[in-house]
């Protein structure tokens, strides 16, 4: 057993998660109050295997952490030696405990597991897909209580507290290019996500409490991932799809934030959930600049918990963290050698893509494998090119005569069994990372010898969505389906006869200020307007309520298999918001979240030759699961009209003035008395007394006190004057006194 104590620069990470302190082994990274360095202690067993520290060791850690502040207060300099002695103390105890826990693990199998895997795949348009897959499993256990060895405590608390049965959270930047990067394989169905944040969760609570749990969950996730997921709390932002989003929805809530910018502050908390963070293992490849300069970047967190465990036991949780990036390899060697030959795939290596190499596995991981996935069609093409290509697809054959060269020999070659057709199936080369260490880092490189072409497998229909109309009053949303392979029919429709149907599920959420007229739904099949009933098999709509809930549409279309194109249009009116409801950049427009298009009769499965190593690998077993083919459409940007934001006071005053004008002038008209005028008319008959009567009328108009205007005023004037003078003097005295005492 070797103990390796490493001191390194403390990563400059945004510390927005003050409270996230899990009792993982990663907590061996001591918080060091004295400086900016961080002491990292790694336990590495001599035989390369690792067992997580048993419970009593964790308790010792706990004691260290709890008593630390006390000692820290006593003496700052004494603290570090003290910690080291405590460490040594429990290390002396460890071998026995280790043996015990090891034997227990063999018997019960209730160990927490962590697997890390990386899938690399060259894409047809000269880019490289890197798909990181980290899988943590916490089995249901009574013994450990709330403590975990490897599993992130923050996630387990989340699951316990909010009764989450299943949850998926994804942060995505960029848009998955379904046409070039594939729309049928498991990665595009599971890992291609809409831009921004997407969150859905299934809860294990009664139906009436789901909303409350959802709101709490969004707030916690918001804190955990430094993102504005808490905006999903508002009932205008989430919806409850019934059947189109997932086949077995349960108590599902779904919400997206298309505008959310995803960056390193979201990645860092995500990495913190890994036992080794990005300090060791495959995650060490995640160099921030090289990831974020890619074309597509999606980090995802998917967890399931078996909630059907009896009370008092902690439910088992399976946490799947994936990071999918599409990068442009930019190797100088290939460009210099094959300059001018643009049809050459660029050669690349891990170090050229990420700027880093893998220096060994994360010691806490049970498996650490890098896969390289290549399409089988490459080989057939090479066979045509070379005329004497190898017939078998054995690894030796590739290394020898094929058009590419790997810098390392694969440890395992897995072939996809696809009986139905040759196209689209692929070959996986596996590399065990544990064989490599710091002195001999893992740096897989791929070099192409000949130009190769292939195309990714497409979903039966390619879906895109766009807006129609101009102006800020109304418009229409159109979803357009185009047959992906017009020449040869897709695999799903080949085996069925002419009367076959292609099922398409459409799930679309629109915010409430896009007021969709669902009765205006029109369907065009092969550019001809068709009655809706012929193709829409099932439709469910929950119309939007102003400032309360978004509009949601679920639709099951049944299109003929030989359809070339189909389009759906829906008209809408644009709403007008209150001045406070506009975001700061109101003129940028509003996003309509992506629609989810799925094909229930198509499943993206990789039929791999069953192998022992496959069963162990969570990534490959995930690929072998039956998932329906799913794709997301574009996010639409809808400009909305804005009022004048600077004018509230003007509007209020002008409107009130108009109202006052109405009220005052109408009352004035009504108040004018007829009686006076009649009397005036009567007075007018007697012409001689006209003047007298006029003056009397005027006097009456003014009221009784003024009946005799002249005499009293002349007398009272001096009196008033005296009083006035007195008052003025009083006020002046008061003012002077105030001035004097206040200063």
């Amino acid at each position: 057993m070797t103990i390796q104590i490493r001191k390194g620069k403390r990563a400059t990470e945004p510390q927005c998660l003050g409270s996230q302190r899990s009792l993982n082994s990663e907590d061996l990274l001591f918080p060091n109050q004295t400086g900016d360095s961080k002491a990292a202690v790694y336990f590495q067993l001599s035989n390369g295997r690792f067992r997580p520290p048993p419970a009593h060791r964790l308790i010792a850690h706990h004691i260290v952490d709890t008593i630390a502040p006390i000692f820290f207060r006593v003496s700052r300099t004494m603290w570090l030696p003290l910690r080291l002695t405590l460490l040594l103390l429990f290390l002396l105890l460890s071998p026995r405990a280790l043996l015990r826990s090891g034997s227990a693990a063999v018997v019960s199998g209730e160990e927490e597991e962590f697997h890390e895997e990386l899938l690399l795949k060259p894409l047809p348009d000269r880019k490289v897909l890197a798909h990181f897959h980290f899988h943590s499993i916490a089995p249901p256990s009574k013994s450990n209580g709330r403590h975990h060895h490897l599993f992130p405590k923050a996630i387990s608390q989340l699951v316990q507290k909010f009764r989450v049965k299943e949850m998926e959270l994804s942060f995505t930047q960029g848009r998955w290019n379904y046409e070039r990067w594939g729309g049928f394989d498991p990665i595009s169905s599971n890992n291609a996500k809409p831009p921004g944040v997407e969150l859905w969760a299934v809860f294990d609570v009664p139906e009436d409490q789901v909303d409350a749990y959802w709101k709490n969950l969004t707030n916690s996730l918001s804190g955990l991932f430094c993102a504005s997921i808490n905006f999903l709390e508002s009932s205008t932002m989430y919806s409850a799809p019934k059947w189109s989003f997932r086949i077995t929805p349960g108590r599902l809530r779904y919400g997206t934030l298309p505008r959310e910018a995803v960056c390193t502050e979201n990645l860092t908390p995500w990495l913190k959930l890994l036992p080794c963070r990005d300090k060791a293992g495959l995650a060490a490849l995640l160099d921030r600049p090289s990831i974020y300069k890619g074309f597509y970047h999606s980090q995802r967190l998917y967890l399931t918990s078996n909630a059907s465990v009896p009370a008092e036991t902690v439910s088992g949780i399976s946490l799947e963290q994936t990071l999918t990036v599409v990068l442009q390899p930019n190797s100088p060697s290939s460009s210099s050698i094959h300059s001018g030959e643009s049809n050459f795939q660029p050669s690349w290596s891990l170090s050229s893509i990420f700027g880093r190499k893998i220096s060994g596995k994360c010691v806490l991981a049970q498996s650490s494998i890098v896969y390289l996935q290549l399409e089988k069609s490459i080989f057939s093409e090479q066979k045509d090119n070379m005329d004497n290509g190898p017939n078998s697809l054995a690894s030796e054959g590739f290394a020898g005569g094929s058009g590419f060269e790997m810098s390392l020999d694969p440890d395992i070659v897995i072939e996809e069994e696809n009986q139905s057709q040759h196209k689209g199936s692929s070959v996986l080369y596996g590399f065990w990372v544990e064989k490599y260490n710091e002195s001999q880092p893992f740096d897989l490189g791929l070099k192409w010898k000949y130009p190769v072409f292939w195309s990714s497998r497409q979903a039966p229909l390619h879906a895109s969505r766009f807006l129609m109309g101009s102006g800020n009053e109304r418009g229409a949303i159109a979803i357009l389906f185009k047959s992906a392979n017009s020449a040869d029919s897709s695999s799903g429709s080949r085996h069925v006869s002419d009367g076959c149907e292609l099922q398409v599920d459409v799930f679309q959420v629109v915010p409430w200020y896009i007021k969709v007229y669902y009765h205006s739904l029109q369907i065009f099949v092969d550019d001809e307007a068709k009655p809706i009933g012929d193709f829409v098999h099932k439709i469910q709509v929950s119309p939007s309520k102003d400032k309360t809930s978004p509009g949601m549409m679920e639709m099951l279309l049944k299109l003929p298999c030989d359809v070339r194109s189909a389009a759906l249009t829906l008209e809408f009116d644009k709403g007008f918001l209150h001045i406070d409801e506009y975001p700061p950049d109101a003129n940028q427009g509003y996003d309509i979240p992506s629609a989810v298009i799925s094909f229930p009769s198509f499943h993206s499965v990789m039929h791999l030759l069953s192998n022992d190593s496959i069963r162990k690998s969570p990534l490959l077993s995930r690929f072998q699961e039956k998932n329906r083919v799913q794709s997301y459409t574009e996010v639409l940007l809808v400009p909305l009209t804005t009022p004048d934001f600077s004018m509230p006071y003007n509007v209020i005053t002008i409107t009130c003035t108009v109202f006052a004008l109405f009220f005052g002038s109408l009352l004035n008209v009504l108040r004018r008395r007829v009686g006076e005028e009649e009397r005036y008319l009567k007075a007018g008959k007697k012409k001689g007394w006209l003047r007298v009567l006029l003056s009397r009328l005027l006097a009456k108009l003014r009221g009784k006190p003024m009946e005799e205007p002249d005499q009293p005023s002349s007398e009272s004037a001096p009196l008033i004057g005296k009083k006035l003078v007195l008052k003025v003097i009083l006020v002046a005295v008061l003012a002077v006194a105030w001035q004097f005492y206040s200063t």
Partner: protein, 480 residues
């Protein structure tokens, strides 16, 4: 003779050319209907049904169609915030919105319904005008002033009012633009007609339906009561609406004084509570009937409470802030949320505050009182449209003779024309081109509100002056 409101100047000048009387009206009414049909069959899309001036959230046919669609797909028509109208209207007009006839423009059946509603409205206005005219002559005769009122050979004020209603561009636009306001106007006019002819069931039915459709006609219960209850005491039945058009009561009383020994007693103008009760019984009967119908039509997917929330609640709380020709939308889009409730109360009570003073001063002219109420509510309502203006402009024609001396009539005519031309321009600049600003459109709405205020105030003032003049004339005659 200067015309009272210049809106009808065109039609009147044209009308005066043919001294046909009833024949002239029929001819022009037929032409108006043909003109509407021509507009409906106009090949280009006029897009009138989505104009903010024509269709408000309450009267839009597209929203009605959406409500019907929701109802057909077994949901409450009030689910979502689309439909805010009556469930009865939905059951009548809803099936017509989906029915398409080959080769005809869409919504052709609805258009025909609205054209029919307009035609019936104008006929009812004409009948009301006739009754008022008879009553006017009668009362003038009883005051011995008939020789003063010149019998022009032209059409009577009822015919003119009906033609003004039919030929008003606002009415035409509201009818062709498929807003439901022609139907609402029809029931309001039916109320007035029932009250003027002394038919309590008809008046009560019109009032209940109009209130059910758009809430604001609720205040018409006062003029309807005044009109109906006052008309009881005139002995011959055909002359019963005399009270609906009568000079101030004081005048009659003084006249009775002058002619002592006449058979009529002074009780003729006493407000009859029995008649009020009679009317109220009919009102409550019809209300119950309408409520039962509503509850039958909404019971499958909703409740009456939801209906009231979605219709009356929507009107009173001004939830929809989309621009219209009123002033409240921009006010409530800009006002601070804290004061929202306060201003809601203030603006709605502005209508209510004026009820009593107007009722006191104009109680001898219930029909004119109804006109003023309609004008005020169409000016201050939450979601006004040109259909509402069309109604009060049409009714204004009924009082042509009395309002002959109205001031600013040319100014008002120019104002109405100017605003109705400028407002679409400003809307286009703001919404479609993005070069304008919300304030421009709001300014036209403001100007429109001001013109309406001037119209109401001036008409009330000139009506009161007219009564004063009558008083003066009769007193001077009595003096002689």
């Amino acid at each position: 003779m200067p015309t009272a409101n210049t809106e009808e100047e065109n039609s009147k000048s044209e009308l005066q050319k043919n001294h046909g009387g009833g024949g002239g009206f029929t001819r022009w009414a037929v032409v108006a209907v043909i003109f509407r049909l021509a507009l409906i069959y106009f090949p280009g899309n006029l897009n009138l049904s989505s104009r903010p001036e024509v269709s408000t959230p309450l009267t839009s046919i597209r929203r009605l169609a959406e409500g019907y669609w929701l109802k057909q797909s077994s949901m409450s028509p009030y689910a979502g915030s689309m439909y805010h109208g009556s469930p009865l209207l939905l059951s009548v007009l809803g099936p017509l919105t989906v029915k398409r006839i080959e080769g005809q423009p869409s919504h052709i059946l609805c258009s025909l319904v609205f054209v029919l509603a307009d035609l019936i409205s104008s006929i009812l206005i004409r009948a009301t005008g006739r009754k008022l005219q008879i009553a006017y002559r009668k009362s003038l005769k009883s005051l011995n002033l008939l020789n003063k009122s010149t019998d022009s050979g032209a059409l009577s004020s009822g015919d003119i009012a009906a033609l003004v209603y039919l030929w008003n561009p606002f009415t035409i636009v509201a009818c062709v633009g498929l807003s439901t306001s022609p139907v609402e106007n029809l029931f309001t006019i039916l109320t007035l007609y029932g009250a003027a002819t002394g038919l309590a069931p008809l008046a009560a039915f019109g009032w209940v339906m109009a209130t059910h459709l758009s809430l604001y006609p609720a205040i018409l219960i006062i003029p309807v009561n005044l009109s109906y209850s006052g008309s009881w005491f005139y002995p011959p039945a055909p002359l019963s609406p005399e009270y609906t058009y009568a000079p101030p009561s004081k005048l009659f009383r003084s006249k009775e004084h002058g002619k002592v020994g006449d058979g009529k007693s002074s009780q003729e103008i006493i407000f009859s509570w029995r008649r009020v009760f009679h009317l109220l019984v009919w009102t409550s009967l019809w209300s119950v009937y309408v409520l039962v119908l509503c509850s039958i039509s909404v019971k499958q997917h909703g409740s009456l409470q939801e209906m009231f929330q979605r219709t009356y609640g929507f009107i009173l709380t001004v939830e929809d802030l989309s621009p219209n020709i009123g002033v409240l939308w921009y006010f409530f889009a800009e006002v601070f949320d804290f004061f929202r409730d306060f201003f809601l109360i203030v603006f709605h009570s502005n209508i209510l505050f004026m009820i009593l003073p107007l009722a006191i001063r104009l109680k001898h002219r219930p029909c004119f009182l109804a006109f003023v109420y309609i004008a005020i509510s169409s000016m201050l309502k939450s979601y006004p449209s040109v259909g509402d203006s069309a109604l009060y402009l049409g009714l204004l024609g009924l009082f042509l003779d009395e309002l002959a001396d109205m001031q600013f009539s040319f100014f008002l005519f120019c104002g109405y024309v100017g605003v109705s031309l400028l407002s679409p321009v400003m809307h286009n600049l703001w919404i479609w081109r993005g070069t304008g600003n919300a304030n421009f459109y709001y300014a036209t709405a403001m100007a429109y509100a001001c013109f309406q205020i001037v119209l109401v105030v001036e008409s009330v003032s000139s009506m009161l002056n007219h009564d004063r003049k009558l008083t003066k004339l009769s007193t001077s005659k009595l003096q002689k």
